[in-house]
């Protein structure tokens, strides 16, 4: 028997080998639910980046991640040749700059994490193991949040390290800008949780990737276009609050609270407090997670 209690046990013999191809019991370690959760998370993260899958599955996530890195490269070039202050791409507005890339990343990746499992009815097997439905949802959400965090944080970290090394005094730069790191992380967490939970909540309701992607992008862009138009036309008090339904903008504006930065055009036009945008973003995240969980609790695999 193998170390893990496998079946095949080659028996050395003078005139060849005898293989026991029969069933052998497993006597190795059993790590229970913890191992199942790690497995679900790890496979979700790999699937998000197309790892272990055909080349075409890797194109979209890696291309989007590369595009998200471009502003950081430009900013570093400007910082190296002229001055960091003159760069249009800064820590506090970076997520706003790559907001559409983040949106596209979720559009591509979220359906990939949920739809095939429903379409191929693999959930019947998953839920017959020692995990709960909440475990599955939690692991998939954690995988997408982590994938998005990597996507959001990579350019910011790249920018920070680059800026650190293009200045004359590295130590001075670090001490002056160290406080930006938790803000970068906090804002990335907010954005990743927000977009991941909504994208998964949409994807959970269909087994077709195309519908999940279309539904999410429509919800994000149509909502913002509609409420912005209504506000631009009416410019009254109710339409001002209606802009809080600009789903693609809400978390980006909310990061102004974290960076203590100037509001963007929509936030400035409405004059709504950034705290209100932050509250709305957190409320939408909570609602999306509730919808996601409810869907899986009611699903018949």
């Amino acid at each position: 028997m193998t170390a893990g209690g496998g079946w095949a046990a080659p028996q050395p013999a003078a005139q060849g080998r005898i293989y026991d191809l029969g069933y052998q019991p497993y006597e190795g370690p059993r790590q229970g639910r913890r191992r199942a959760l790690v497995t679900l998370f790890r496979t979700g993260l790999k699937r998000a980046w197309g790892l272990g899958r055909p080349f075409r599955a890797k194109i979209a996530p890696w291309l989007l991640a590369a595009i998200a890195l471009l502003p950081a490269l430009i900013a570093l070039g400007i910082a190296a040749l002229i001055a960091e202050e003159l760069s249009p791409y800064r820590y506090e507005n970076y997520y706003g700059v790559i907001a559409r890339i983040i949106l596209l990343f979720c559009t591509v990746v979220a359906p990939e994490l949920l739809c095939p499992d429903q379409r191929q009815r693999v959930l019947a097997l998953y839920f017959s193991r020692g995990i709960t439905r909440l475990d599955y949802v939690g692991a998939r959400l954690a995988a997408l949040v982590t994938a998005l965090l990597l996507m959001c944080l990579s350019p910011q970290v790249f920018l920070f390290l680059g800026n650190t090394f293009v200045v004359d005094d590295v130590f001075d730069y670090l001490t002056d800008n160290l406080d930006i790191l938790p803000r970068i992380l906090g804002a990335a967490l907010l954005i990743s949780l927000y977009f991941s939970s909504i994208a998964l909540a949409v994807a959970a309701h269909t087994n077709r990737r195309v519908w999940a992607a279309g539904g999410f992008i429509a919800l994000m862009l149509v909502s913002t276009a509609v409420v912005s138009s209504v506000f631009a036309t009416l410019e009254n008090e109710p339409s001002k609050y209606l802009t809080l339904l600009a789903f693609s903008e809400a978390p980006i504006i909310a990061t102004n609270v974290i960076f203590e930065a100037e509001p963007n055009s929509l936030a400035e036009a409405t004059g709504l407090s950034p705290n209100l945008w932050l509250f709305a973003s957190l409320a939408y995240t909570a609602a999306a997670i509730a919808i996601l969980v409810r869907r899986y609790l009611k699903l018949h695999p």
Binding site: L21, Y23, G32, T39, A124, F127, S128, R129
Partner: protein, 310 residues
């Protein structure tokens, strides 16, 4: 058993499945109606027509469905309050397709092993062994999408076996298989249950599958328990003699027997005769000789599984 705190420990006792007054309703349909039985170790066949409640019962035993009434335990665990613990020791093979198309069987079965709590290296080793056990050794690195129906069924069985469960729940395991594939699947099930002593509950609507593979039979009909017992108990000898006389002679033979005071009736090209005592064998032989009627075969009628649905 080694393992960290919280890891799976052996099931508490040898009880396999106990079901008591189990009821499940879907709006106006009662899928299970106060079903009660107790299944011991061995290969248990859960027999019933489509819609009899077999799959519903399996899903309740897995803790995937909440019953509306009654209770059930699997391997000593209550399915509603301890379903999670029970599932660590159950291998489940669904009736429907449930395999990803674009993944090799070795990878998927290994993944299922890890979902059952096995460390990655052990899970991969067990996956290779399980696939070899079900006869998919050569094909294990091919994407499942290219498999035939029979290969997919065997891959599902490998996924159910990979973590060495104490109970296998097989939902229509021979579904969609050709005769050769069906025989192979039943042979694997027989081998797993008989040589390993693994408890198996197998649902099917095919009487022949039960007769070939099972030790114990539970029959469901429209959500109700129709009958249960060892397979042999369904094969009782009846006090009826079946005479194969050929199609032409059957009516004459039956009439002659009736004239001699025996209770006989024609069924197809055979005559059925109530067997009150064994002297009737001699009387039938003598009558055939006297009237020069053909008598090809005399056999005592035995009941089969099919009789319970008659």
């Amino acid at each position: 058993m080694s393992g960290p705190p919280g890891a799976a420990s052996e099931p508490p006792n040898d009880a396999v499945i106990t079901v008591s007054g189990l009821t499940k309703r879907y709006r106006t349909v009662t899928a299970l109606d106060a079903v009660t039985f107790r299944a011991a170790r061995g290969i248990v066949g859960l027999l019933g027509a489509n819609g009899a409640g077999k799959s519903t019962l399996i899903k309740i035993l897995l803790g995937l469905l909440e019953p509306d009434g009654g209770s059930a335990t699997v391997l000593g665990y209550d399915v509603t309050s301890q379903g999670l613990r029970a599932r660590e020791w159950i291998g489940y093979m669904p009736e429907h397709d449930c395999l990803p198309d674009d993944v090799p069987a070795a990878e998927f079965v290994g993944h299922m092993g890890q979902l059952a709590g096995l460390p990655p290296r052990e899970a991969q080793g067990r996956a290779a062994d399980a696939l070899r056990y079900v006869g998919l050794d050569e094909a294990r690195y091919r994407a499942i999408g290219g498999y035939s129906t029979g290969m997919k069924q065997r891959a599902k069985l490998a996924a159910a076996l990979v973590h060495d469960p104490r109970l296998l729940l097989l939902d229509e395991p021979t579904n969609g298989l050709d005769p050769a594939g069906r025989e192979q699947m039943l042979e694997i099930i027989r081998r797993t249950g008989r040589t390993q002593g693994m408890a198996i509950l197998m649902t099917t609507h095919l009487l022949a599958d039960v007769e070939r593979a099972c030790d114990y039979v539970i029959v469901l009909d429209e959500g109700r328990l129709l009958r249960e017992g060892p397979l042999e108990s369904f094969r009782t000898v009846k006090p009826v003699l079946r005479l194969d006389t050929g199609p032409a002679a059957a009516p004459t033979f039956a009439e002659a027997l009736t004239q001699r005071g025996l209770s006989a009736r024609v069924q197809g090209h055979e005559v059925l005769l109530d067997l009150s005592d064994f002297s009737i064998y001699d009387r039938v032989r003598d009558l055939a000789a006297e009237l020069r009627l053909p008598l090809i075969r005399m056999t005592q009628e035995t009941s089969t599984l099919a009789d319970i649905f008659a």
